[in-house]
């Protein structure tokens, strides 16, 4: 609903009750007013929203979710993926191939 983004806690200032959080190399200070004292530690992943830490992200849960997806995708080997693509073309009649032919390079980060 709102622009809340995952960030990593890199510093905690107990006196001012703030934390410094990092999002892909961008650092910002965020207030800890909404967090139980002492419940955050360095390296925790949190959601921040308009300058405050909203909660701590359940790291195990996130990892588990990602793991489940990865396992499913690994099980689908190349052949299955090609079949899915083919089905998609037949169903939607859309061209799913990138229009660039030889010059399309691998996606970068």
């Amino acid at each position: 609903m709102c622009l809340s983004i995952p960030s990593k806690v890199v510093k905690i200032d107990t006196e001012r009750n703030t934390a410094v959080v990092d999002t892909m190399g961008v650092s910002r200070e965020a207030g800890l007013d909404l967090i139980e004292e002492g419940s955050l530690k360095l390296g925790d992943y949190v959601l921040i929203h308009i300058g405050f830490v909203m909660n701590k992200i359940d790291e195990e849960d996130a990892l588990e979710s990602l793991k489940v997806y990865k396992e499913i995708l690994d099980k689908l080997d190349e052949q299955d993926r090609k079949t899915m693509l083919l089905e998609d073309e037949q169903v939607n009649g859309e061209e799913t191939e990138a229009p660039l032919g030889d010059y399309y390079e691998n996606r970068n980060g």
């Binding site: 709102c2 892909m24 010059y103 996606r107």
Partner: protein, 332 residues
């Protein structure tokens, strides 16, 4: 601390001292020091002529300053027309009280940047205004170049042309945004501000057939693609995953709700080339630090003329329209 005073703009002794000690010293060349009312020049080919004014705040930022911008910006506009940058004018509007050190640093930046293209500042003007008249310093540069390669034009993008972007996008805009106090965050981010002429020169020398060239400034990559699509009446289809965005720029965009493709650049350019020349273009560009990560991002087609289409990595597509209004971070 020595500062710029109103008298420095008065046209009298202080002005001459300022010009001599600062501008003539750092911009040294035969034409400038003649100190005539106008520079008399000779150009052998068609002339490209451009102007730009620079009002960036903050004046000094990570990766450059207003001086570097003022030279690179005008030099790049000439380069984007396939013209060798030759002569620049430079007009300064300075707020009284600007520390002399800062002015000198700006002038030094300009000199350093000129050296990258060989262009010379051959005439100029200096005005000093009372406090509040300008925000520290504004610079206008105008530039003349000789057209080495004709036909490079926003009207020339043809169906099947390959679109190449010289590097990761959104750097300059993200850097400036971060340096503004109100956003109160920090990042290891620096502007992409750079003189692009050497790369363009190399493309010309390698005989790459270039349909269009443009540096992505305000409005970012998004603005350039839309301008091309409109003017050349083609559709530009872009593979979203092929557009290079650095982690730090992504971080700024995530944090503040911006779109990297709409953020300004100052040393990033876009090229449209016929498909048979695409590989040659890429190979040529890889020799320069500031565009060694050049990548193909899309192609011109006739699918939806005058529109830019963004294809996501998972089979959906949307129109990428011109950004509108001021940059506001999204909120709840």
């Amino acid at each position: 601390m020595k500062t710029v005073q109103l008298s420095h703009g008065g046209g009298g002794e202080e002005t001459n001292t300022l010009i001599g000690e600062l501008f003539y010293t750092h911009f040294e060349n035969d034409i400038l020091i003649r100190a005539e009312d106008a520079a008399v020049l000779e150009v052998n080919k068609k002339i490209a002529f451009t102007t730009d004014s620079f009002t960036v705040s903050p004046v000094f930022f990570s990766g450059g300053d207003i001086g570097k911008l003022a030279v690179a910006g005008t030099v790049n506009d000439l380069a984007m027309m396939g013209a060798r940058p030759l002569y620049l004018s430079s007009a300064f509007m300075i707020e009284e009280g600007l520390p002399f050190d800062e002015l000198e640093q700006i002038v030094r930046s300009m000199a350093a940047e000129l050296a990258k293209s060989g262009a010379k500042i051959v005439c100029g003007d200096t005005k000093v205004v009372p406090r509040g008249g300008v925000d520290k310093i504004f610079i206008n540069t105008a530039g003349i170049g000789e057209v080495e390669k004709e036909g490079v034009s926003v009207l020339n993008v043809k169906e099947d042309d390959v679109i190449i972007v010289s590097r990761d996008v959104g750097r300059h805009g993200a850097t400036i945004l971060m340096e503004r106090e109100s956003l109160d965050a920090s990042a290891d981010l620096h502007s992409d501000c750079e003189t692009l002429w050497p790369a363009v020169e190399a493309l010309i020398e390698a005989d790459v057939s270039v349909s269009a060239l443009r540096d992505a400034t305000r409005g970012g990559l998004c603005a350039v693609l839309n301008e091309w699509a409109q003017s050349s009446e083609v559709c530009i289809e872009v593979q979203e995953a092929a557009v290079n965005i650095s982690d730090e720029v992504r971080g700024v965009c995530e944090m503040f709700g911006f779109e990297a493709m709409e953020l300004a650049n100052e040393g990033t350019f876009i090229i449209a080339v016929p498909p048979q020349h695409a590989q040659l273009a890429l190979d040529t560009l890889k020799n320069f630090d500031f565009c060694k990560k050049s990548a193909v991002i899309g192609r011109a087609t006739q699918k939806y003329p005058k529109k830019v289409v963004l294809h996501s990595a998972y089979g959906s597509s949307r129109f990428l329209d011109l950004p509108k209004g001021e940059l506001l971070p999204r909120i709840c």
